[in-house]
Symmetry: none
Subunit: 215 residues, 4 copies
Amino acid sequence: MSTHSFLNKEKTLDSEESDRKSRRTIQKKNQILEAAAQLFAEKGFHRTTTKDIALAADVSEGTLYNYFDNKEDLLFGIMEKLVDNQQLGRQLSLAELDDAQDFLVAMLNERRDYVQSNHDMLQSVLSEILVDPDLRHKYYHELVLPGIDTLEQHLTHRQRSGQIKKLDERLLSRFLVSIFLGMFLLDVIHDPLIETHWEQYVRVVADTIFNGIAF
Amino acid sequence: MSTHSFLNKEKTLDSEESDRKSRRTIQKKNQILEAAAQLFAEKGFHRTTTKDIALAADVSEGTLYNYFDNKEDLLFGIMEKLVDNQQLGRQLSLAELDDAQDFLVAMLNERRDYVQSNHDMLQSVLSEILVDPDLRHKYYHELVLPGIDTLEQHLTHRQRSGQIKKLDERLLSRFLVSIFLGMFLLDVIHDPLIETHWEQYVRVVADTIFNGIAF
Amino acid sequence: MSTHSFLNKEKTLDSEESDRKSRRTIQKKNQILEAAAQLFAEKGFHRTTTKDIALAADVSEGTLYNYFDNKEDLLFGIMEKLVDNQQLGRQLSLAELDDAQDFLVAMLNERRDYVQSNHDMLQSVLSEILVDPDLRHKYYHELVLPGIDTLEQHLTHRQRSGQIKKLDERLLSRFLVSIFLGMFLLDVIHDPLIETHWEQYVRVVADTIFNGIAF
Amino acid sequence: MSTHSFLNKEKTLDSEESDRKSRRTIQKKNQILEAAAQLFAEKGFHRTTTKDIALAADVSEGTLYNYFDNKEDLLFGIMEKLVDNQQLGRQLSLAELDDAQDFLVAMLNERRDYVQSNHDMLQSVLSEILVDPDLRHKYYHELVLPGIDTLEQHLTHRQRSGQIKKLDERLLSRFLVSIFLGMFLLDVIHDPLIETHWEQYVRVVADTIFNGIAF
DNA sequence: AATGAATGAGGTTTCATTCAT
DNA sequence: TATGAATGAAACCTCATTCAT
């Protein structure tokens, strides 16, 4: 038993040390990614130099390459954080809102929050997605598709319980997703109205989707 | 013939020669812009070299600079063509469709056509818009805002004639525009469903917008 | 006929122009290769920077890359020149020297000349050959083996005509080649004696090979 | 036992400790040098990184610098081992072979053994010798010249005792050395024949040197 | 008007070396 | 004594742009 506890002590020490190390590594990775995301959002991936990033992250250029294989790898790092954050958001998700329209409003707001708190990272990544097949593939499969899937399930559920009409879930979910995407684009393009009138906008959207615009 | 003389009226004496010149110039500009747009769409603006463009356009690199001030100017050239094409599309546009839902369907299809026949140019320009303030400004003011405005007018008109509910037109038009934008993004990201199920998709979207998803 | 001559005139003009162009290209390639070879011989391939080479060749660094794909390609360029020069030397080669020993002496001198007039290029290439499989392969197959082959043929001929003993030509030719290689190495290492006593050295070598050192 | 006390005699009081230390030091130095030599032979000095070496030697990069001043110092370390090994080989050397031709054969074989068992180190060092004056100087003076000197003495001895002709020993010894060098080069360049036909090759070489190729 | 060779600033990346732990 | 993260100089290479022809 004494031996055992002795071993444990060592183990604990070791693991503590390696823990500290990996925590510092993760921290520094984040420090770099945040600097990069901000710059990418401001000037774009290609107009941002590794020197810029190093400076903004307060490390040397060499250090960048101790944490990331190359410049493009930074984009993948940003994407991973986006994926993590999305999953995080989903956990503390939309509870079980009984009313379907409440649910839609909640979802729009949740998306809005996600977009706002990950704005730089999303913008960083988006412009390259349009242009880099690898990144596009990753983005589609790890961020968009999961979103679509979750939506489909919710829709199916609501349809079964008779809360909403029986329209093709696959198309309906895409419709909703493209609303989010478009909303984000309008935001990035700096259309002033959505930002200033968010509350009303959500109401209009939710109302329209639920009740339609026809009399 | 009268048309012809009318057109001629605006021209100076040495018109024929300068005409031929400018026509050739315009043609070569187009030749270059098309090559550029295709490459930009494939590889992105920054990964496309002026050499690539010259090669694809079958001119020398030097010639590029006889027609455009610099590489970025090509993007502005592409944007101008997009604006022209949009205006063109709008003229022969949505006639006067009595039924509001028919109108919406027609509009969705018109957008779809526009997107499809200007795909490369749109994709070329979009990823840089996210990253280049000048271009973004131009895009917003010359392509997005006019679209929003036109939509607002249509909506106001339909509201007045009692065909649709009285929701805030500014927000409703943004809602519709963000649907188009999102649709385009899904397309660029290669989501397969919208492409293969376009007809049904349009129906779902139009039905939802008009009648809502609630029972 | 007039058409023909007219065409010819054009052709001549064209070919003259393209000739001038390609001649200038070849000239500039040589200019660069000579600068590179000298520096490589002095400091070695890796300690020579592309900037060094550009400076020595009196062109910009960018221009280097208009003529060679990358730095290593310069080594291949040097090797090609070595191969050319060897073939050149072989044409005006060892005539038909009746006496076998005269022939050996002539050959040793011919090698010496080759080594001396291609010294920088040989030294440039040699140290990388020891370390770069591609280059080694090329060197062996394009420079060493042809030399061995030629030697073998000569030896076979002399053996048949009864001038020398019937020893395995393949081994004997390798023996002679390794004498040349070793000689070159001693030269590069700056052993003073061979350089200062070349005439006598050749005599000793030829005498030994022919008559042996035994009484 | 007497030997043991003899060895101990030279040591100070705290000898045992410093002994262990220096023995461990020497061992680790060797461990590093062997790893380095292997990598240098494979990829060349410049393409081998200190990280590579550290990894292969199973130490950290920092530790490298506790044993060697810098990367180039590794080459000097390798050279020193080569010198040591050569002297070692020479001590238990060519006995006193009465017959001169037997002696030559034995010498060729001894060189062959040396080359084979020090192959990586020789190849490591050779390509840099061609390019690094310091190293070249050291190589020439500590490895080549001693070899030449030893040879000269042997030759002089054999000449005096009337076993071989009176040719200039300085040139003759260089001739023999360049045969060894060339042989080594052919080996490094991967000429297949010498390796597969070594026994016969030695016989041809020895026979030629002794009796010549002339009838 | 068209060409394309030349340019050189500037980008990404590598890697020997240092030093705090 | 051993470590390995951090460094930053410097290398190779690209490419938008110019300009003599």
